[in-house]
Symmetry: C2
Subunit: 374 residues, 2 copies
């Protein structure tokens, strides 16, 4: 095959992520590469840490950007904290809860599952009942914003319950960070991970993570080595510690971190609460329009993620045909269904930079056209 430079089209990304990356962030991404141990780069990493602490609303000393996607961030939380002796309660209400289960199983820890409904929030009562039957449980893990269904769980309440049972919490904030209220310290979250490519509107490939002091203690007191060298956070801590000489662990993804720095700075300058409110307002406008088009939401109103709108594909409509039409005719990407919702639902993202009037208007107009033609 003859290969030439790849020139991608200018899409509007309204799927479950990656979301639209602004020209400002792309321009930061393309700044000249410098060394990962360059004093100026090390200074920038301190700023990334401080900006991440703001985004997570935490004072956690251990708050870093992992050099790999959100699924590696999930794994970093699980493999560093959990050993085979531990009992872990996982609340499952979609694909990413199922992936947490996969992580627990590979560690060989004892697993207790709180089975939830697809398209619904995690049921706090079900968690409470499960914990009262399992006093040996040491961890509670759940997904704040289920990217596979568009459901938002009450992270504050779930953490309260977990704490009442002396459990540490592991929270998936891949799609929630920056898009809906999230307060790591106030809610007492012990380990949290996110992704760069959702409501931060940065390029994909980086996973912000944060561990509470209690979680760091658990890691420090491990006697069994973490199965993964790459994800062993006791080694990574030495690189991000900021005290004295940085210990080399691996080469940081320098340019992606420029982009993350810029996107976090944009979030800080807008203000976290303003960003949450913007996502909510844009969601309301989109939701109104989608209902007017005759589309039905999968998730009940008060459990909906503003940044990810999941609607049933109307009967008789060809899923792939509509999505292809939107892509080819309008350069507009919306997301297919995943897992139980494959072929049954669309996932329409309003994330970060993409949560704006023009995207809502384009999406509604294009979908109206596509549905009329389908």
């Amino acid at each position: 095959m003859t290969i030439t430079s790849f020139i991608p089209p200018q899409r509007t990304l309204m799927g479950p992520g990656p979301s639209d990356v602004s020209a400002r962030v792309l321009s930061a991404l393309a700044r000249p590469t410098i060394g990962h141990l360059d004093p100026l780069f090390v200074g920038m990493m301190d700023e990334v840490k401080s900006l991440l602490q703001y985004a997570f609303q935490t004072k956690n000393e251990f708050t870093i950007a992992l050099s790999a996607p959100g699924s590696a961030g999930m794994e970093a939380c699980f493999v560093n904290l959990i050993t085979p002796e531990d009992t872990v309660v996982v609340c499952k209400n979609g694909v990413f809860g199922a992936r947490m289960i996969e992580n627990v199983n590979r560690i060989g820890a004892k697993l207790v599952v709180v089975e939830g409904k697809w398209g619904r929030a995690v049921d706090p009562q079900a968690l409470e009942q499960t914990l009262s039957k399992h006093p040996e449980a040491k961890f509670v893990a759940f997904v704040h914003a289920e990217t596979s269904t568009g459901a938002l769980s009450d992270a504050k309440l779930l953490c309260e319950i977990a704490q009442r049972f002396q459990c540490l919490t592991i929270v998936d904030a891949v799609t929630s960070l920056g898009g809906v209220e999230l307060r790591v310290d106030e809610w007492g979250i012990d380990a949290i991970y996110s992704g760069s490519q959702k409501c931060l509107s940065c390029v994909p490939g980086i996973s912000p993570i944060s561990f509470s002091d209690k979680a760091v203690e658990v890691i420090k007191n491990r006697t069994r080595p973490v199965p993964s060298w790459f994800l062993d956070q006791s080694l990574v801590m030495a690189y991000w510690s900021g005290e004295g000489k940085r210990a080399y662990h691996h080469t940081a993804p320098v340019n992606s971190l420029y982009a993350l720095h810029e996107s976090l700075l944009m979030l800080k300058n807008e203000g976290l609460e303003n960003s949450w409110q913007r996502h909510q307002l844009q969601h309301q406008a989109l939701a109104k329009g989608l209902v007017e088009l005759g589309l039905e939401f999968v998730v009940p109103t008060d459990e909906r993620l503003p940044q990810l709108n999941t609607v049933y594909i109307p009967k008789g409509i060809d899923d792939a045909k509509v999505r292809s039409y939107l892509l080819n005719h309008y350069n507009l990407e919306i997301g297919a269904g995943l897992g139980e919702f494959a072929g049954k639902a669309w996932r329409i993202g309003l994330m970060g930079f993409g949560a704006k009037n023009e995207n809502v208007a384009l999406c509604l107009a294009a979908l109206k056209d596509a549905l009329a033609k389908a």
Copy 2:
């Protein structure tokens, strides 16, 4: 702290990596983000695969770009192939051989180490003797180009020996790929990993890997799950397979892959042999100048990596002061020593786009000035 956009200086990167990234690759990096399941992106990934097959000189079907740095590439090779029952022979002649040992230990497999000298190639006779004493050995692992010392090992011969003893080979090509002769199929390498930020002169964060059909068989015949979900290549294969519908595993680092595509295309257009020759020629010019400055090479002539020149720091010279002067006065980065060579040697990279006349000239002139002032 008040945080503003981070504007890095324009450095010349002549350390052990990241190497200088060309404006052409940076510009590819900053192209508009599209979805990781977009048909156009999937087509680009097929091209990345084909370009990687060229760079590795392999027809291996399983040739991909892992969404994480080289150290994750190393771990992917080890955790997918090796189970606790296996005996693994690791040839250690620097930091990265030691990291291989760390990987084997975390898997809990049986480890046999061929201890080598720092700054020297792996001794083929020592490998042969070790293998004749360990008929149970199933894998031989070694580093082709030791980034911590600048030593080049005879990968072809080491693979020949391993094959004579019916062992599969795992080869670290992080610093070698694109810079020195490397022929995966002809030499019979079974698992190989590299990094984007060395002789490919792409941004850091991606690890090209390739598995032979024999290695893929080993993975397919595993009964024990891979300890890491993120690095489980049986899951990743489904995403990169190119046959029919791609299975979602994680969100690919879209923009970094644009950059990798461009840097691999530049390598293809130059021609692999031409690139190897360019590295050799630039190395000769640099080496001549370094010797003229009175600097002494760590590695004997016929075991030297052209792309990484390791020289002893002259007696009485302040390591950190010289490197700071180069950085602050000339925007020139050279590498500190690592491991046994910390404080004792400098590592001067001539990698990929950086292996050119202007970098050699700048480095020699700047070093001359710095040494005179030190």
